[in-house]
Symmetry: C2
Subunit: 265 residues, 2 copies
């Protein structure tokens, strides 16, 4: 499972103030915590600070990479901010995200090519927006993957985001995401999947319970990446258990190691 | 989700003594607890007391049904014990279990017909024993369902047990069970599934974590029944969450009710 630490995001409490005041220590500590808890990438997102995103995003990348030896998942729809952040990133970055919407696709694909980046790709296009049903999402996703591969992106660098929406507004939305993963994986078994989980439980109580139950379903369908808080013990326990059950953990080595390290709840 | 309470089983601590001494109060209390926690059926199993099973099993049925207004899941491979227990059972019983093994099939099917019972059917036959792979289990299961329907059993009364085996001895066993459920459900969408979960985690630490993670996977594949301890809060919380996510809980009514009743962990 490829884990992207989600905690450096100005939509979260404390981060906006830390970015506005360029508090290096606060951001560095968030990066170190997530790396120690097992994050493979550190997500950086300051999209709520529209007026200064182009300066703040590269600052975040530099602070994170001075603190930990990890690549960033550079999270913005803004090509200017992405470009500034990619320029200072060391190693192979992940860009979050591209879509099949023509304008966004054309501006982001150039950055993916220039920086040989891994890319999170949302199953959206101009014709359908955010499709409501799995067959349309699968169609949009399959076409987007074909375009990316055609543009020289390795399948192994593509992370499809099936779009997670709340079951509180449409009770079928968890299944739509699961079916989208399964359907795209049937066509492209080599592609990766990546998403945040918490949207699924928006507006409901006991969100953590819903999020981790949903994660297990997505993993059975083929999800092999997630944007989450790696300090969430219950979620991480369930990931270890799911990998063991899905026969993705040779000799149950990681599960037993996590147990001995006191990580399993 | 159809829940069968598993706690009245002489393989569990305290039950052997209670059955041997015909301690009505102890057994009645176990039945009441499970019914209060949401069990739809109360499993009764005294298979370890081979010398007295034929007397003890009907005694258990009577004690349970005097204590709670629930049907029993009468759990034995012994047709004599089953027959004695069925004779005293009130309402529509569930028999646990039949297989496609000729001798067992022939003796149990008569009881299913005579008592119009629901039947748990294991995907085993004489040729393959307990098949190691999903395609064979699916083949055995599909043939067994066809035979049962041919014998006059309603599809809605058949609960297929996909056979749960430990991932500690064969790391593919969780997936074999999941694929068996999915494969049989594709052929017979109207059939039910029912199994115990705990075998999957045999020999491993944090069994509860593995069991409930596995339950979610099986539910996504189509499992709609389980033999478990309905007093296991973490497992029950996950069932409420999974039903909500699988769009099997109209208006999220059960999930929200469980939350308000303080049942969700």
């Amino acid at each position: 499972m490829i884990l992207v630490g989600e905690k450096i995001n100005t939509s979260l409490k404390g981060i906006t103030e830390a970015v506005r005041s360029r508090d290096r220590e606060f951001i560095a500590r968030k990066a170190v915590e997530q790396a120690e808890n097992g994050a493979h990438y550190i997500d950086v997102n300051c999209g709520t600070l529209i007026d200064e995103e182009v300066e703040a995003l590269p600052w975040l990348v530099q602070v994170v990479q001075e603190a930990v030896d990890k690549p960033c998942c550079i999270d913005s729809p803004n090509p200017l901010a992405l470009s500034a952040a990619l320029r200072v990133h060391k190693g192979k970055p992940m860009i979050n995200s591209i879509t099949a919407e023509k304008e966004r696709y054309d501006s982001i694909i150039k950055l993916v090519q220039e920086y040989n980046a891994a890319i999170v790709a949302l199953v959206m296009d101009d014709e359908h927006g955010m499709p409501k049903d799995a067959p349309t999402r699968i169609k949009v996703g399959v076409r987007l993957i074909a375009d990316l591969v055609q543009a020289g992106v390795a399948l192994d660098d593509i992370y499809i985001d099936p779009l997670i929406q709340p079951i509180s507004t449409d009770s079928n939305m968890a299944l739509v995401a699961v079916d989208t993963i399964r359907g795209i994986r049937e066509v492209y078994p080599g592609v990766h999947f990546m998403c945040g989980l918490s949207n699924v439980s928006f507006g409901l109580p006991r969100r953590g319970l819903l999020n981790r139950t949903f994660l297990v379903m997505c993993m059975l369908a083929g999800l092999d990446g997630a944007i989450l808080d790696p300090g969430n013990r219950e979620m991480m326990s369930m990931i270890y258990a799911a990998e063991a059950l899905l026969n993705r953990d040779a000799y149950l080595k990681n599960y037993l190691k996590a147990y001995r390290s006191g990580l399993l709840d």
